[in-house]
């Protein structure tokens, strides 16, 4: 399935949960936040939310800024 991840279109095998995607990317246990189609996916729900073809995901971190 095709997912837009931080603005880039990428292919992933289906089915895929948010937790599995985060693990694939190497961010398990890191302080990140995930938004799916404009809505926050709370950390406690990463394992149960399954991604769908065409989803738009944003994964963010805190960086230096003023």
């Amino acid at each position: 399935m095709e997912i837009s991840l931080n603005g880039e279109t990428r292919q992933f095998p289906s089915p895929l949960t948010v937790a599995a995607l985060v693990e694939t990317l190497g961010y398990t246990g890191k302080r990140i936040a995930v938004e799916r189609n404009g809505e926050i996916v709370p950390r406690g729900r990463h394992a149960e939310v399954t991604l769908a073809d065409g989803d738009r995901l944003e994964i963010v971190v805190a960086v230096g800024g003023g």
Binding site: V34, E58, A62, G64, G65, G66
Partner: protein, 264 residues
């Protein structure tokens, strides 16, 4: 007394410093941490950005250098140009920080002067306050719109003293004073401070606090400037509370006795 004089209460929580600092533009996280420690700031603001997919997910994280257990992390919306982007960014920031509601809203209007877009800022503030955020808001030094932000329910109003990152200092003390005098919530100068005397002047005007980044990060010695800013904010606060002497124009007043001089 000392603690009360220099402590700042925002949204019901009391902080030990009236200086808030940004975390951008430092050489590395070690310098960021050392300068912030020297400044004594407890509230530190951070930006929210996309992770670099495919690039070293194990790279050091800012929040390892500034753990939320030791600092109050203030997620901001730097770089957002619409209310919608700012709202989404702060919802992500709240999720990132385990539901922590204090945030810094800024909606920019122009990439060259980074002046706030006030209509979008007001729109975002309304949504965020209704959504349970404690909103500290970057705004223009317009007393009317500053009051509107207070009326919406923002917990602190933060007018610019001059352009973000410019170091031009306090360009319109008169407007800042109008805002300070007409608002009940804390008023903090956010942006424009260039050196320690600027911070002192802002505090002498009666500002409740100052948020700065570049003045410390781009000093030749950021750690020493962090220390200078801590003292400058405290000195300005004490001078404000002490109450300055009245200015006497064109009329000197000797400090020493005018009688008892030898040869008289």
């Amino acid at each position: 007394m000392d603690n009360q004089m220099h402590s700042l209460t925002i949204a019901g929580k009391t902080y030990r410093s009236r200086l808030l600092v940004g975390t951008g533009k430092y050489k590395d996280f070690a310098e960021t941490r050392a300068a912030i420690d020297a400044s004594g700031a407890e509230i530190v603001t951070v930006a929210i950005r996309r992770v670099n997919i495919g690039q070293n997910p194990g790279e050091p994280n800012l929040l390892d250098a500034l753990p939320p257990s030791q600092f109050t992390i203030l997620p901001n919306t730097a770089g957002c140009y619409t209310a919608e982007d700012a709202i989404r960014t702060l919802r992500l920031g709240r999720e990132l920080l385990d539901g922590h509601s204090l945030c810094k809203l800024e909606v920019l209007g122009d990439p060259t002067n980074l002046f706030p877009n006030m209509p979008e800022t007001l729109k975002a503030a309304e949504v965020l306050v209704k959504d349970g955020f404690d909103v500290m808001v970057y705004c223009s030094d317009d007393p009317i719109q500053a009051k509107m932000l207070e009326d919406i329910g923002c917990v602190a109003v933060m007018p610019l003293a001059s352009l973000i990152g410019s170091g031009m200092g306090i360009v319109n003390p008169w407007n800042l004073r109008l805002i300070i005098d007409s608002l009940k919530v804390p008023v903090l100068v956010d942006a424009g401070v260039g050196t320690a005397s600027d911070a002192t002047i802002a505090m002498e005007l009666g500002c409740d606090g100052i948020l700065m980044n570049t003045a410390i990060a781009h000093a030749k010695n950021p750690v020493l400037m962090g220390s200078a800013m801590k003292k400058a904010v405290e000195a300005g606060r004490e001078a404000f509370l002490a109450g300055r002497m009245p200015r006497k124009y064109y009329s000197a007043d000797p400090s020493s006795p005018t009688t008892g001089l030898i040869g008289s």
